[in-house]
């Protein structure tokens, strides 16, 4: 199915679409307020962008520096070329400790690698401890947003889910009571957790430490209660120095939710006495993307989700319409790198309005990359044949002024004299599902102009 087909399913529930759009627009407005209140915000964006550009340009150096510093801190560093290797490293570490109960804080990377199904298949209980993640885990759904993974769900949906899984009263949709139920449930899991897996927001090359930003404190609780901490990170998460971090913490949450900073910004540098800390550094296609000059800037992404909140398409199609771990505009430029055929429709799921580029806190030229992916996809034969041939035909008309003038006239006359039911036929003219065609005038501009020239 294409993005457009999956969107059509989402759009069937018009009220829910309205609600989804307005909810995310509210988040975008909160972001705007936070941004307007900070006069230096645009300078911070530029700085963040430059730091990321610099880091990506010397990634080999910073990765080596990071590994060395982390090892010095007593952290064990592992390298994974792809998702499968990542999953097997994590499973191996869990098994080595004879553990079966794992708590996990939010990590888009482990979603990308499909770690949970792999662990469960191997007899490990893995519990997502971020509230939104836990909700969708119970429902066996994928996250629909990078920051707000359950944003596609209403409180009624959560009430139903908790009724089934946590035994809350049927019809209890009170957010406070539902959160309390989740809290009690998760507290047990935290206390029982033998291994804690976390994601990584930033990895600092000079200190070898990883930084995890959460609003719920679930990463801290999980890591500090468990014997073993495994931090999983994509190799693009690096920043050079600890002093660079403040630039990112200032733009990250303002862009994401409009908060000045996340409630918890936790630095993990070395294992506590008697405990172990591991960092798994994952490539999984990132080197390939780094090798594509037009698209490497997509690796600057800090996963704030601002491009999703602002995207007029995402807000009306829902995160699942992208069928990729990272949805929205940024997902649409990351996904073809992973599987061009499967995700061929995503770069076309945009009007190229450019709002994503304007909110991006690290200045990724998202809409330009969408345009460029379209060119790559067409060149690789990954666009529908009907589109390919109609564009060829259009080109041959538009590069011949005489044929264009004649073709335009024929089309206009056709529209003038064909019955409305035919020109607006359902199933043949997608424009007409919600729109009238323009009323064709008798004369085109060029015909009018020629007549004026003749008369004068």
């Amino acid at each position: 199915m294409s993005h457009s087909q999956r969107s059509d399913i989402f759009l069937l529930d018009a009220d829910r679409t309205t609600w989804h759009d307005e909810t995310l627009w509210f988040v975008r407005q909160k972001r705007d307020k936070a941004v307007y209140a900070l006069p230096e915000f645009q300078d911070l964006r530029e700085l963040a962008s430059q730091i990321k550009n610099h880091t990506l340009s010397k990634l080999d150096f910073y990765l080596a520096q990071f590994e060395e510093a982390a090892k010095r801190n007593g952290v064990q560093v592992h390298w994974a070329a792809d998702a499968a290797e990542h999953n097997s490293i994590v499973l191996g570490l869990i098994k080595k400790h004879g553990a079966t109960r794992v708590v996990k804080s939010k990590s888009m990377l482990t979603e990308e690698c499909h770690l949970n199904p792999h662990l469960i298949k191997n007899g490990i209980e893995v519990i997502d401890t971020d509230l939104g993640e836990r909700i969708i885990q119970m429902r066996e759904e994928a996250p629909s947003h990078v920051v707000l993974p359950a944003i596609h769900l209403k409180k009624e949906d959560v009430g139903d889910t908790f009724h089934i899984h946590l035994g809350t009263a049927k019809g209890n949709n009170d957010p406070q009571q539902l959160t309390e139920a989740a809290r009690q449930h998760l507290r047990e899991k935290f206390l029982a957790g033998e291994v804690a897996i976390s994601g990584v927001n930033f990895a600092i090359a000079e200190t070898g430490s990883v930084v995890v930003c959460t609003n719920e404190g679930n990463a801290d609780l999980g890591v500090n209660l468990a014997k073993v901490h495994i931090a999983c990170m994509g190799m693009e998460k690096l920043i050079p120095r600890l002093s660079d971090l403040s630039v990112f913490t200032r733009v990250l949450t303002r862009s994401a939710t409009g908060q000045p900073v996340t409630t918890y910004t936790s630095h993990f540098t070395k294992p506590a006495p008697g405990k172990e800390m591991h960092i798994v550094i994952v490539d999984n296609g990132r080197t390939k993307q780094l090798g594509r000059p037009d698209f490497r800037a997509s690796l600057k992404c800090i996963r704030c989700g601002a491009c999703m909140n602002t995207c007029p398409v995402y807000r009306r199609s829902g995160g699942h319409s992208y069928d990729f771990t990272i949805p929205g505009p940024i997902g649409a430029i990351l996904s073809p790198n992973i599987d061009m055929r499967k995700h061929a429709s995503l770069p076309f799921a945009s009007t190229l309005c450019g709002s994503c580029t304007d909110v991006c806190p690290v200045k990724i030229d998202i809409h330009t990359q969408l345009y460029k992916w379209r060119q790559v996809l067409a060149a690789e034969g990954e666009i529908p044949a009907s589109k390919k041939w109609s564009m060829r035909l259009l080109s041959s008309v538009l590069s011949r002024p005489g044929m264009y003038g004649l073709g335009g006239k024929v089309a206009r006359q056709g529209l003038r004299f064909l019955p409305h039911g035919l020109t607006h036929a359902k199933g043949y003219n997608p424009w007409a599902i919600a729109r009238e065609l323009p009323e064709p005038p008798k004369q085109s501009f060029r015909e009018w102009y020629a007549q004026q020239q003749k008369n004068s």
Partner: protein
């Protein structure tokens, strides 16, 4: 100053009155523009569909048509943006560079080349201004809500000089209308929904006349308005200014 009038293909075929208004407005402002008839299109429909290579002969036709003009002026931010930004894939000969640099959107030309910031006239209606994304975010013709709470822009300034004109305060100042070129048919469902939402914002806030600098957005919104039989008149801003100028 030799000015070539660039009338995008869909304006030429479906909205000749916008081309006429552009020509007449320029004339009233002291510029006699020429319409070279071998022009066709900027090539954007092919390029946005991923078929940039197929658009190359169209790019060359555009450059050859307009190479001898000092300025190329068109009433369409999106097409102008395409020429300026995306004609980078053909060899950058002096004539290509000249045409790209000097292709200007109508209101940008009026304000920044002609130096005219006020147009005396009267238009006593409640006007909803639709900002085209390519004009606004692409050509920076208006402030962006992503950057600043200040709602300023070239077209807004020109229309402000119209006596009796009142702007609609929209709930969403600059959300995309959902036209998006071939997006309007390849993602028809989302495109339609975006258009409907934009129109609702105008209806809710009392727009009588919906205007903008890009007829492509307006064609899409007009289609929604006419389908809903809504009491909103759609006019390109060139039509308003040309009709109201004293």
């Amino acid at each position: 100053m030799k000015v070539g009038l660039f009338i995008p293909c869909y304006v030429d075929q479906f909205y000749p009155q916008v081309g006429i208004a552009t020509l007449q407005l320029l004339e009233k402002l002291g510029v006699k523009a020429d319409f070279p008839k071998q022009q066709t299109c900027c090539g954007q429909p092919m390029a946005n569909s991923g078929c940039e290579q197929d658009a190359i002969p169209v790019y060359h036709n555009f450059v050859d048509t307009f190479q001898d003009y000092d300025y190329v002026v068109g009433p369409a931010g999106s097409c102008v943006y395409h020429v300026r930004k995306h004609f980078n894939i053909i060899e950058q000969t002096p004539k290509v560079e000249h045409v790209r640099e000097n292709t200007r959107e109508l209101f940008d030309f009026i304000i920044n080349v002609l130096g005219i910031t006020e147009i005396p006239g009267s238009f006593p209606h409640k006007v909803g201004l639709h900002l085209s994304c390519h004009g606004q975010r692409g050509l920076h013709q208006a402030n962006e809500s992503e950057m600043t709470p200040v709602r300023d822009g070239q077209l807004k300034r020109l229309l402000t000089s119209m006596k009796g004109l009142e702007f609609t305060e929209l709930d969403r100042n600059d959300e995309c209308c959902g036209f998006g070129g071939t997006f309007c048919v390849s993602e028809a469902g989302i495109s339609a929904r975006m258009g409907q939402d934009r129109v609702k914002d105008h209806v809710r806030n009392g727009t009588q006349v919906l205007t903008g600098g890009d007829m492509s957005c307006l064609m899409h919104l007009e289609g929604v308005i006419r389908r809903g039989k809504l009491p909103i008149k759609v006019m390109h801003a060139a039509e308003i200014l040309n009709g109201a100028i004293l």
